[in-house]
Structures are given as C-alpha cells and as structure tokens.
Symmetry: C2
Subunit: 435 residues, 2 copies
C-alpha cells in the first residue's frame, strides 16, 4: 500500500461536515478501493467551536482557508465554502498555485471561471474535480467526460435544481387535489420545510440551474464555459392555471436546463418547459434531479438521483478524491484546456419548437379572429385550442399550442397579441420541448 493521500477541507457546513464524516466512517473501505489511505489532515471554517457532529480537534485547524490551501501537509484541497468570488475563489487559486489537487462543489465559481481553473490545474499537473457541483449524487460529469466519451453529444438537458422541482411538483399535486396551486404559498411552504432558502431567487430564478448547465456544456462539447451565453428564466411566472392546462394537454411543467450543439454553435437555455408525460423526465418528482444526454451512438441516457444534501454531495466529493488517489487524470472538461473550443452562441430567437400560449381575453365576438390573425401574420400554425367559460363578465382563458415555429416569430406574435384590446393580461407562454 502506497502513502496516504492527505486531504484539507475548507468549509465545514452541511456538505463539509458530511464529507469529513464519510471519510472517517468509510476509512477502511476507501483505502481498499484506492489502494492507499485517504486521510483528513486539515480543516478550516469560520467558527472553530461550532457543533457539527465531527471532532475537529483531530485535524490541523486553519482560520484562514487560503493558508490551508497552501499547507505543506495537504495533497488535495476540498473547497466547500461556496460563492463565485471572495474566499472560495482565493482558496481555489491558492491550491492550484501550490500544485495541490482541487476538488470543489462550487458551481458558481466553476460556471464563471471553470475554463481558467482547468487551464491552471493542467499547467500545475494536478486534478480539478467537480462532480459534486452538478446534480449532487448523480455521476453525470464522469458520464459525460468518460462513460459516454465515444459519442459526439448533441444535447444534454436536465432537472438540476431540487428546490424548483419540489415547488413545481407540489404545485401540480395541489392542482390535482383541486386546489389553485399558486406559486407563492407553495414557495412559503418549501421555505418552512427547508427545501427553499429564505432568499430563494438564486434557485427559483434559474441561476443555480444555469451555473450547472454551463458546466455540463463544457463537459459535453469540449468547449469553453459560457455562463453569460445562457438564456435564463425562472419559475415565478408559472401559475396553477397553466399547470392545470398542461395536465389536460398531457404535459408536466419542469424547469429544465438545456444545452444543444448544432452546426451553428451552442444553444444554452434555462426556462420552464412543458414536457410530454411519456418522457421519463416528466416523472422526476420532488427534490430529485435528473439528466439526459443524447449521444450519436448510445442514444438517450437517463440518470436520476438525489441532487443535493450532505450525503449525496459528500459522495460526489469523495468520488473525486478517490479518482485522484487512484491516479486517474481525464481532462477536466473532456479535452485538454488549451484545446477547448470557443463555439458561437445560438441565440434563443433561433429556437425552433412548439409553444403553449395562454391569453386572458374578454369573451366577445371577434376575439378569436383577432388572435388567429396575429398568428397567421407571423406564420405560426395552431395545433390545438381550448377555450373555457368562466363567470360571465370575467376574463376567460384562451389556450393554444402551436406547431413548431421559430422563437423569433413567436415573440413577434406575442407582442402583437399583447396589443389587442380584448387581451387583458400579458400573454403567458411556455415552451414545449420535444424530448
């Protein structure tokens, strides 16, 4: 058995403490699987005395995580502080500068600086592991980098944020129970249960999903990460009425991150989608995550598992450490950093797909003719239409699904419809994804 791999852990929140616990509890199993012991040698956090269910007195303590990253007794730095700038970035850079392997669960940092960090790691001859940054316990980074590496990947999409999926699942269940299924009270309930943060915008506005999507794009297509190129919409605009119509039309509504490679370049987008009930991803419920990768030879591969929490995230962190202990070195983003392509962005306006539209209209003669005229003017063809009566005098929902059409045409159509006198609310639009 060769010498121990010495680990320093910066950040002892839920994930950091779970990682220390896993490394201690499974010490023997891990040594067997790695051919050498994995030893926690140093830890760092803001408060030394806080109770975390682990005995930090066994490890060297660092008040300054950047000092831990540079410490001579550490071979692998595990960064679990979080955040794209400030301390976490400093720790990551210090580790690579000192030629330490770096393992991180920090999706924000990677989304913004993944390309640069991969180049630094390669230059230093060390590993950069980030399995824990995307979809927690699902080994999707490894699958894209290695398991599916024989395939040109055409598309990757997934449910990457458990908070949004929990909220959308709960909204749908409420609608199915005959309740309204509005967003606000269900968000409040998710906050009460600990599934959503007090400040939820990072999750519900799609930013967290976009961070993960940027990483998946780099892995799948061997290209430089481009977080700024992602079109991002969250789930605040979804209401129970749309969920009810989705069910009636055979769809579930999910917040997906989608990245697609075409001749023209890379299309990255995060937004609520109507997904057909026949698609496996439609049935991923609650806080679970799921990812689908489409490869030229393998077809569609579907992965589902727990996306967050101490256990699954620690499992992914330690998998990266095992990889390092075993001496494996696949390039962080599937190809060497210098060879990462710089691919053009395909703007959302070029999406070609079907759409769900809900208008709230005054129920009077000519309304449908006006709407149909707007659709015709922009070459948008209607697949199905549903109008339902409410109390007389109240606006009624007029719901349509379209055949496949360019996003740009759809946007122009919606702008024209919004100007109609008989349409009393801004149109609600949800993209229908062919999966």
């Amino acid at each position: 058995m060769t010498s121990a791999l010495r680990i320093g852990i910066a950040g002892l929140g839920t994930v950091g403490a779970a990682t220390v616990r896993l490394l201690e509890e499974e010490r023997e199993l891990l040594a067997r699987r790695c051919g050498r012991p994995l030893e926690v040698r140093a830890v760092s956090a803001r408060e030394r005395g806080r109770s975390r269910g682990i005995d930090v007195s066994r490890y060297a303590w660092f008040d300054d995580p950047a000092a831990l990253a540079a410490a001579a007794e550490v071979d692998v730095v595990v960064e679990l502080i979080g955040g794209a700038d400030g301390v976490a970035r400093e720790v990551a850079r210090a580790a690579l500068r000192q030629r330490k392997h770096l393992v991180t669960a920090n999706k924000a940092l990677l989304a913004h600086e993944g390309t640069a960090l991969a180049a630094c790691a390669e230059a230093a001859g060390v590993a950069l592991g980030f399995e824990a940054a995307v979809a927690g316990g699902i080994p999707i980074c490894k699958a894209l980098r290695e398991g599916l590496a024989a395939n040109p990947i055409t598309r990757v999409y997934g449910i990457l944020n458990g908070t949004c999926n929990y909220i959308l699942s709960a909204m749908r269940e409420a609608v199915q129970r005959g309740e309204r299924g509005d967003f606000a009270p269900i968000l409040a309930e998710a906050q009460r249960l600990g599934y959503a943060e007090a400040e939820p915008s990072f999750d519900v506005d799609g930013i967290d999903t976009a961070h993960k999507l940027a990483i998946l794009t780099g892995l799948a297509f061997g290209c430089r990460l481009d977080f700024e190129g992602i079109h991002i919409e969250g789930i605040r605009g979804i209401d129970g009425t749309d969920i009810a119509f989705a069910l009636e039309l055979g769809y579930h509504i999910k917040l997906l991150g989608i990245t697609r490679r075409s001749e023209a370049g890379i299309e990255q987008r995060v937004h609520p989608c109507m997904v057909p009930r026949s698609a496996p991803i439609a049935h991923v419920e609650g806080v679970l995550n799921a990812v689908v990768a489409d490869g030229r030879y393998v077809g569609a591969s579907f992965f589902e598992g727990r996306g967050a929490g101490g256990g699954p995230t620690a499992s992914a962190v330690v998998a990266d450490v095992i990889e390092i202990a075993r001496g494996a070195r696949a390039p962080a983003f599937s190809v060497p950093a210098a060879a990462l392509d710089r691919l053009p962005r395909v703007p959302l306006e070029e999406r070609y797909g079907a759409y769900y539209i809900r208008l709230m209209v005054v129920d009077r003669p000519g309304v449908i003719a006006d709407v149909a005229g707007a659709l015709r003017d922009h070459g948008v063809s209607v697949e199905a239409m549903v109008q339902r009566q409410r109390d007389p005098g109240e606006p009624v929902p007029l719901v349509m699904t379209t055949h496949e059409t360019p996003e740009a045409a759809m946007q122009r159509t919606l702008a024209q419809i919004a100007r109609l006198n008989s349409v009393v609310e801004p149109p609600h639009m949800i993209r229908i994804e062919a999966l």
Copy 2:
C-alpha cells in the same frame, strides 16, 4: 500528442463492425479527447469477404483471433466474439499473457472467469475493460467502480435483458388492450421483429441477466464473482392472467436481477418481480435497460438507456479504449484482484419479502378456509385477496398478496396448498419487491 494507441478487434459481427465504424468516423474527436490517436490496426473474423459496411482491407487481417491477440502491432485487444469458452476465452487469455490491454463485451466469459481475468490483467499491468458487457450504453460499471465509489453499496438491481423486457412490456400492452397477453405468441412476434433469438432460452430463461448480475455483484461489493450462486428463474411461467392481476393491484411485472449485501453475505437472484407502479423502474419499457444502485450516502441512483445493439455497445467498448488511452487504471472490480472478498451466499430461502400468489381453485365451500389454513400453519399473513367468478364449473382464480414473510415459509405454504384437492394447477407465485 503522444503515440497512437493501436487496436486489434477480434469478431466483426454487429458490435465489431459498429466499433470499427465508430473508431473511424470519430477519429478526430477521439484523438482530441484522448490526447492521442486511436487506430484500428488489425481485425479478425470467420469470413474475410463478408459485407459489413466497413473496409477491412485497411487493417491487418488475422484468420486466427488468438494470433491477432498476440500480434506485435496491437496494444489493445477488443474481444467481440462472445461465448464463455472456446475461441473467446483463448483470445482473452492470449491477450493478457502478451501484456495487451483487454476490452470485451463478453458477459458470459466474465461471469465465469472475471475474477481470474482481473488477476491476470493486474499481474500483467494492463487494463481489463468490460463496460459493454452490462447494460450496453449505460455506463454502470464505471458508476459502481468510480462514480459511487465513496459508498458502501447495499443493493443493485436492474432490467438487464432487453428481450425479456420487450416481451413483458408487449404482454402488458396486450392485456391493457383487452387481449390475453400470452407469452408464446408474443415471443414469436419478438422473434419475427428480431428482438428475440430463434433459440431464446439464453434470454427468456434469465441466464443472460444472471451473467450481467454476476459482474455487477463483483463491482458493487468488491468480491469474487459467483455466477453459480445466483438463483435464476426466467419469464416463461408468466401469463396474461398474472399481468392483469398485477395491474389491478398496482404493479408491473419485470424480470429483475437483484444483488444485495447484508451482514450474512451476498444474495443474488434473477426472477420475475412485481414492482410498484410508483417505482421508476416500473416504467422502463420495451428493449430499454435500467439499473438502480443503493448507496449509503448517495441514496438510490437510477440509470436508464439502451442495453444492446451495435451503437450503444460500440459506445461502451470505445469508452473503455479511451480510458486506456488516457492512462486510467481503476481496479477492474473496484478493489485489487487479490483483495476481492470471498463472501458467503445468502440462499433464496432467506429472502424476506412479500408475495403474490394465484391459485386456480374449484369454486366450492371450504376452499378459502383450506387455503387460509395453510397460510396460517406457516405464519404467512395475507395482505389482500381477490376472487373473481368465471363460467360456472370452470376453475376460478384466487389471488392473494402477502405481508413480508421468509421465502422458506412461503415455499412450505405453497407445497401444502398444491396438495389441496380443490387447487387444480400448481400455484403461481411472483415475488413482490420493495423498491
């Protein structure tokens, strides 16, 4: 860029030809991802002149695959001949003896000789890759060996044979259309469509599933492979009546391979299962495969994809070749061969679970009392009972589900019930799995 990795391919059937095509079509992408070219240098098959959609004149030709395995111009031998003995075994052994890396899709060979082959490969300092041997395009070997390697695995189960899953899915669809859904005509249809072999017993009797399960057991638990320790039942005994009752009770019937680690040892079994409709694996349809791994920290990870065919299998074969080109060397069965545990078998009799039982009974007073008496005698408690009237005079089905009970008690109960005069057919029993 370092020197090319030189590949010899033994066997040019569907998978062999697809592998050659993939390596040629994706030459550039693969070189980028590996940091070096992957070059097919030699091939071998029974008939040189056969049309396969590839130009074999570009490669050194070997009539004798064992000679290919020993050829100086080959670094990696890809064995795609199949079969547990004879030529395939000879090729595998010759390759390792000559210190060539070995990649194989041969589940039968691995199930029987996996432990020995892993030891030979380690002794020779070369890789043994077999991602293609289990569940085709699903990178489950890699997931167990690496992605989930931080977890003690408690259980792995899956749909590992597309033929059986196709037949069971088609039987259920027939029942849902109001037809009988009998096994024989649907097998015949599957044979006509090319989803089942002319000689189907390898698939429908569960042997292929068991080969794959033996490999998963080794990977998940770091133990010596024990194909002989697997309890194997196929799907010939399932009929439409059971599928109809399963649907009524909220279950789908699937042929699962299940391997479980407990204090007592390893329990490996292949048999038809009733799986609750709420489990993701219940919805894996047609020829798709799926695997679920339960890890202590990660929870349940679910993987679904195409399990067979040229493209998915070639994708898995080439993933192993990429691994070799990149220089990665995780131990074949998760721990070094010398450290593989020899774990005791837990016999099927110790299974503890619920059961579905269908009896065909003569409908006369006292029948239920007799059956209930047998159950009581062995401590088996009934969860639900369904009896339905048919034409008078004909035997009627009496269907029960039990609470959890030891298999041994269930077997004794069934033996006693089979002896009752009012029970006119051997009892039908299907295990209900808590997933």
